[in-house]
């Protein structure tokens, strides 16, 4: 069981966004994808979620090409949480979370007992059960992020792809969210997430993939990948890489190049 990109190239118009990407995740892993803005992190995640087709190369889910799955079958196996947290209508929180059950529903069937349990469970885990009947339009940004994350949890997919799930979250909620991602991976799910917080990545990820200019330039143990040499290369920063009370800490000291 695995989700694998093999020699994938993605071009948007003339621009090459991903070049010869070889990357994979397996159940039990929590993989952090890090890199500068525009390095191709989001594109790689969208590629793995089946939202993009590579110009060359392929993406395989459990040995079968993504294009071979129906959208509904894919939605049962793979949950994708986009960076964009807009909810267009003032739906009740419970309804938003229940959208995660759509891939499991046929046209005729309702949400079912298992579905109801999954929704209640996801809301409890993300600490939004008390908001169940509240309109998402009346939530704070952090509450909405948790509700949308609960939607992805309710999908009960083996693979979870989350694009910057902690962006804009306060430190406590960012920690809670990563505890949850860690728990999922330990329960045998495969989790891949893009993020900018290197300390969180080093602390929770079982593996870190470092992207630069559409290529994955390092992929392995967090401490090996997040070295000061790599950070200088990928982010253009002179960073202090250290440990405080056993926790990895990254402190950018200076930008090495001017912004162009």
């Amino acid at each position: 069981m695995s989700l694998v990109c093999e020699h994938a190239d993605v071009r948007l118009g003339e621009r090459s966004v991903l070049t010869d990407l070889d990357f994979s995740i397996k159940p039990g892993e929590l993989v952090a994808v890090v890199g500068a803005n525009g390095a191709g992190k989001s594109t790689a995640l969208r590629l793995m979620a089946g939202l993009l087709t590579p110009q060359s190369g392929r993406v395989l889910l459990d040995g079968q090409a993504l294009s071979g799955y129906s959208r509904q079958a894919l939605g049962q196996k793979l949950a994708y949480l986009p960076q964009d947290r807009t909810v267009h209508w003032g739906l009740a929180v419970e309804r938003v979370v229940a959208l995660g059950r759509l891939p499991h529903k046929s046209i005729a069937s309702g949400i079912g007992e298992a579905g109801k349990r999954a929704v209640a469970d996801a809301m409890a885990r993300m600490d939004v059960a008390h908001l169940a009947q509240r309109s998402v339009a009346r939530l704070s940004g952090g509450e909405r992020a948790r509700v949308l994350f609960a939607r992805a949890l309710a999908q009960e997919a083996t693979y979870l792809i989350a694009d910057e799930p902690t962006a804009g979250l306060d430190p406590a909620h960012a920690l809670i969210l990563f505890e949850e991602l860690q728990r999922l991976s330990r329960e045998g799910k495969a989790v891949v997430t893009a993020l900018h917080d290197l300390s969180l990545a080093a602390r929770y990820a079982t593996r870190v993939a470092l992207f630069k200019d559409g290529r994955c330039i390092a992929d392995g143990q967090p401490t090996e990948v997040l070295s000061s040499e790599h950070l200088a290369d990928a982010f253009g920063i002179d960073a202090i890489v250290s440990q405080v009370e056993g926790f990895p800490v990254f402190l950018p000291r200076a930008a090495l190049r001017k912004l162009t």
Binding site: L51, Y80, L91, L99, P103
Partner: protein
């Protein structure tokens, strides 16, 4: 919640349908003689009531589906330019004198115009483009059809023709026969059926296009159902009844709070609600302006616009604190 809103709207639609059969320009009831009563009921009131229900259902449902698809509460059936195309087709039929030669040239011209507009929109916006490209294509087609309709008015052969065009553009259900029903009903019903299947996809689309795809939505299939469904329903409705504004905008707005803002749950209530609004407006017209001096499209706009203003003010006071 959804079913309660549906039942409420359905009850109003049934009331409107019954009133439409029962009430004529002379008030409630039918002529005394059995033959005359039968004729009035079957030949005049029944087609008018059926068309009112169908046209209203088409406008209400198309409005709700487009608002859900474009994720914009300001979307309305006219946005895609389909009704503009239907209007242009009908106006061309009047202008060319075809409508004078045989009566059905008018609705047939409307249908041709609506189909041409729908094809133009698909050609301009494509089947896989963004929602913005669809809106832009709709605006372009609307602008062209409006310009050509004005041209037809400008160049109309005589004052009577321009008055006829103006009056037709205002929208009405008077003097429609069962032939109009047979012409429009199949197209409207197919369009309604297509739009009614989009509920689950519209629901998922609340989370944006990418999340919706992850939840099983095929964007191309959805786009096809929305464009084709709206084109059939609204095109046929406009071809037989002219332009009836504000129904498709106001009805979904009014019902949205009753369904917890669910875009999928809004479809059935908007279908019934649109039918109710058009039927009741048409009955009101017969009661208060029995001799055809006020047109249905004018009345719906007169009711709709202030009502919309009130909605906007409500919304503003809700968001203020």
């Amino acid at each position: 919640m959804t079913s309660r809103a549906s039942l409420l709207a359905l009850a109003l639609a049934v009331l409107g349908f019954a009133a439409s059969l029962a009430i004529g320009p002379e008030g409630a009831g039918l002529p005394g003689a059995a033959d005359a009563a039968r004729m009035v009921l079957i030949e005049i009131r029944l087609p008018r009531a059926i068309l009112g229900a169908l046209v209203g259902a088409a406008l209400g449902l198309a409005g709700a589906a487009l608002q859900g698809y474009l994720r914009n509460p300001l979307a309305e059936p006219g946005l895609l330019g389909i009704s503009g195309g239907a209007a242009l087709g009908a106006v061309t039929a009047i202008h060319s004198g075809l409508a004078g030669a045989f009566a059905l040239a008018l609705p047939l011209g409307g249908l041709v115009g609506a189909s041409v507009a729908a094809i133009a929109i698909v050609a301009l916006a494509g089947m896989s483009g963004s929602t913005t490209s669809l809106i832009l294509a709709g605006v372009a087609v609307s602008a062209i059809t409006a310009a050509l309709t004005t041209l037809a008015l400008n160049l109309s052969p005589n004052p009577f023709a321009s008055v006829e065009i103006m009056v037709w553009l205002m929208g009405s259900l008077t003097d429609r026969s069962l032939v109009h029903v047979w012409l429009a009903a199949p197209l409207i019903l197919v369009g309604l059926a297509m739009l009614l299947t989009t509920g689950r996809d519209l629901e998922a689309l609340s989370l944006g296009e990418e999340a919706a795809q992850n939840l099983g939505v095929d964007p191309q299939v959805l786009r096809f159902k929305i464009i084709a469904g709206a084109a059939l329903a609204v095109g046929a409705a406009t071809a037989v009844a002219g332009s009836i504004g504000f129904v498709g905008l106001v009805v979904p707005h009014l019902l949205r709070p009753l369904v917890g803002e669910s875009p999928g749950g809004l479809l059935w209530p908007s279908l019934f609600g649109g039918a109710a609004l058009v039927l009741l407006a048409d009955v009101a017209l017969r009661l208060f302006a029995p001799y055809g001096d006020l047109r249905l499209g004018v009345l719906t706009a007169l009711i709709g616009a202030p009502f919309f203003l009130w909605l906007v003010l409500q919304k503003r006071s809700e968001m203020a604190p």
